[in-house]
Symmetry: C2
Subunit: 236 residues, 2 copies
DNA sequence: CGACCGCTTGATCCTAGTCAAGGGTGGTGG
DNA sequence: CCACCACCCTTGACTAGGATCAAGCGGTCG
C-alpha cells in the first residue's frame, strides 16, 4: 500500500524492505473525526490506508476551508516531520482507516536510505503542486469549472492509485464541504452540480463521483494533470 | 544571505561552512523577466539575492495566476530538485538578482550534511503552508480582507528576513498583478486599495507597501503569522 | 411515526465584474 | 525642447452572477 510512492519515485528493493519494517499503529475513524488539529504537535505521521481524508483550515467564525483531499496511500501530514506546530487540521471525510508512523522511525529510515527521504520529500512537493493548483482553481475559474476540475483531479488520482479502474471514485463529500473546498455557497454548489448533471458530464451521488464524459469535463475544468507529476501519466 | 534558513532551522557552523562553499552563478533580471518557465526542466535552483520574485501559473487565455512572492534569501524553485518538470513559472516582479545553484552541488551538500537537507525541506514545507494560506485567503475572504492579508504577510516576512525595520517593505507590484494574485478584477483591486488608504491602515505607492495601522489591518485580513513557522515570532 | 439532516429549488439583494472614459507620468522621437 | 504616445492608475455607470434568505422535499435513524 505504501508503494504508491513508486507512482512518482523509483524505489529499490531495499527501499521497499525498509518501508515494510516501519512500525505502524492503525486507527479507525468515523466521518468527520479529526486526525490532528490545528495547533497540535504530532509525534507521528499518518498514512491513509482506507477512505478519504482532508486537510482544512478552521476559520474564526467556525467555518472551514478545505485545502486538499488524500486517498489511500497518501501521507497527509508529513508537514509535521519538519515543522513544530500544525497550521491546519486533518480529518476523515467518510469512514477511514489510517496508520500512524512515529516520526522517529521515519527519520531512522531516512538515515539508512536517503532515497526514501527523497521519495517522501517529492511527495510533499507534489502536495504543494496540488495546493498551487487549488489557488488557481478557486481564484480564476467560475463555479462549474472549479467543480469540474476538482472532480477530474479526484478521479484521476484514484485511477493513478489503482483505487478504481472506471471513470468514477468514492468520495463521500457533502455539498456543504464541497462549497467549503471551492469557496462557493451551498446554493451555487448545488446549481453547478445540477449543470454538470444536466449536460451529462459528471455526477456526485451516494458519496461517489461519476464522470460520464471525461473529454468535455476536463475541458470545462481546464484540467491538465501534469501538476500531479506521475512517472507515467494516464490517458483517459 | 543564505542564512535566512536559520529563521526557521538551527544550523551548525559546519552547515554554514557547507553553504558557503556552494557554487553560484548570479543573474540580473529586469522586471517581468522569467527565471524558469512552465514546462522547463531546470538543472539549477535559484536563490533570491535582491528584489522580489514570484511564482505563477499561465492560464490558457494568457492571463496569469500569481501563487506566491519570494524575498531575498528565499529559494523559489526548490521544487525542481525532486520533480521533473516545472508546473509553474517563476519571474522577477521588479528588478532582481538571483543566484543559480546547480542541483548537483545541492545534492552533494545534502549528502555531506543531512541537516542541510532538513533545513531546505522545511523551507519547502513552509512554502506549502503559504500556498495553503493563499487558498484560504482567496476562497473565503472578501476583496479588502484578501489585500490586507497579503500586505501583512509581505511586510511580516520582510521584517523576519531583516529586509526592513519599519512597517513597510519594497513591493514593486502593479495593480493588475495584485488582481491576478488575489483573484480580483483590476477595478475591485483599486477600490479595495482605496478603502485601505481611506481608513488609514495601509498604502501601496511607488512599489512600496506601507502599513499605517498594523492592528487594524491584521484584523481586517485575519492575519495570524503562525503559518510562517518562524523560530521566534515578531510582535509588531 | 416523527424529527432531523442533507439536498433541492425559488426569489431577492448586493457585490464584484465588465465596459468605458479620463488623468497622470515617463519615455521616445521629431 | 516639446509633442506625442503608451502605460498605469483612477473613477463612474451598468450588469450579471453568486450570496443570502426562505421554504419544500426525501431519506434515515431513533
Amino acid at each position: 500500500m505504501i508503494r504508491k510512492l513508486s507512482e512518482h519515485s523509483r524505489l529499490t528493493a531495499r527501499d521497499v524492505a525498509e518501508l515494510r519494517k516501519l512500525p505502524m499503529m492503525t486507527r479507525v475513524l468515523d466521518p468527520d473525526d479529526d486526525i490532528v488539529r490545528q495547533g497540535d504537535r504530532p509525534t507521528s505521521s499518518a498514512l491513509v490506508l482506507e477512505g478519504l481524508v482532508a486537510r482544512y483550515h478552521l476559520l474564526p467564525d467556525g467555518r472551514r476551508q478545505y485545502l486538499s483531499y488524500h486517498l489511500a496511500g497518501d501521507l497527509p501530514d508529513t508537514q509535521a516531520l519538519f515543522v513544530d506546530r500544525m497550521d491546519h487540521a486533518v480529518c476523515a471525510i467518510g469512514p477511514a482507516v489510517v496508520g500512524l508512523i512515529p516520526h522517529a522511525a521515519l527519520f531512522a529510515a531516512f538515515e539508512r536510505r536517503s532515497s526514501l527521504a527523497g521519495a517522501v520529500w517529492r511527495e510533499t512537493l507534489i502536495d504543494a503542486a496540488i495546493f498551487r493548483e487549488a489557488i488557481t482553481n478557486n481564484s480564476s475559474r467560475g463555479p462549474t469549472a472549479r467543480m469540474a476540475h476538482l472532480f477530474c483531479e479526484l478521479v484521476y488520482r484514484s485511477k493513478a492509485a489503482k483505487l478504481t479502474t472506471s471513470h468514477d471514485c468514492s468520495a463521500p463529500i457533502g455539498l456543504r464541504q464541497l462549497g467549503e473546498t471551492l469557496g462557493l455557497s451551498l446554493a451555487t454548489v448545488n446549481r453547478s452540480l445540477a449543470e454538470l448533471r444536466a449536460n451529462g458530464t459528471a455526477d456526485l451521488q451516494n458519496g461517489r463521483i461519476t464522470i460520464r464524459d471525461w473529454k468535455t469535463l476536463s475541458d470545462i475544468g481546464q484540467f491538465q494533470p501534469t501538476y500531479l507529476h506521475l512517472r507515467k501519466p494516464l490517458d483517459p
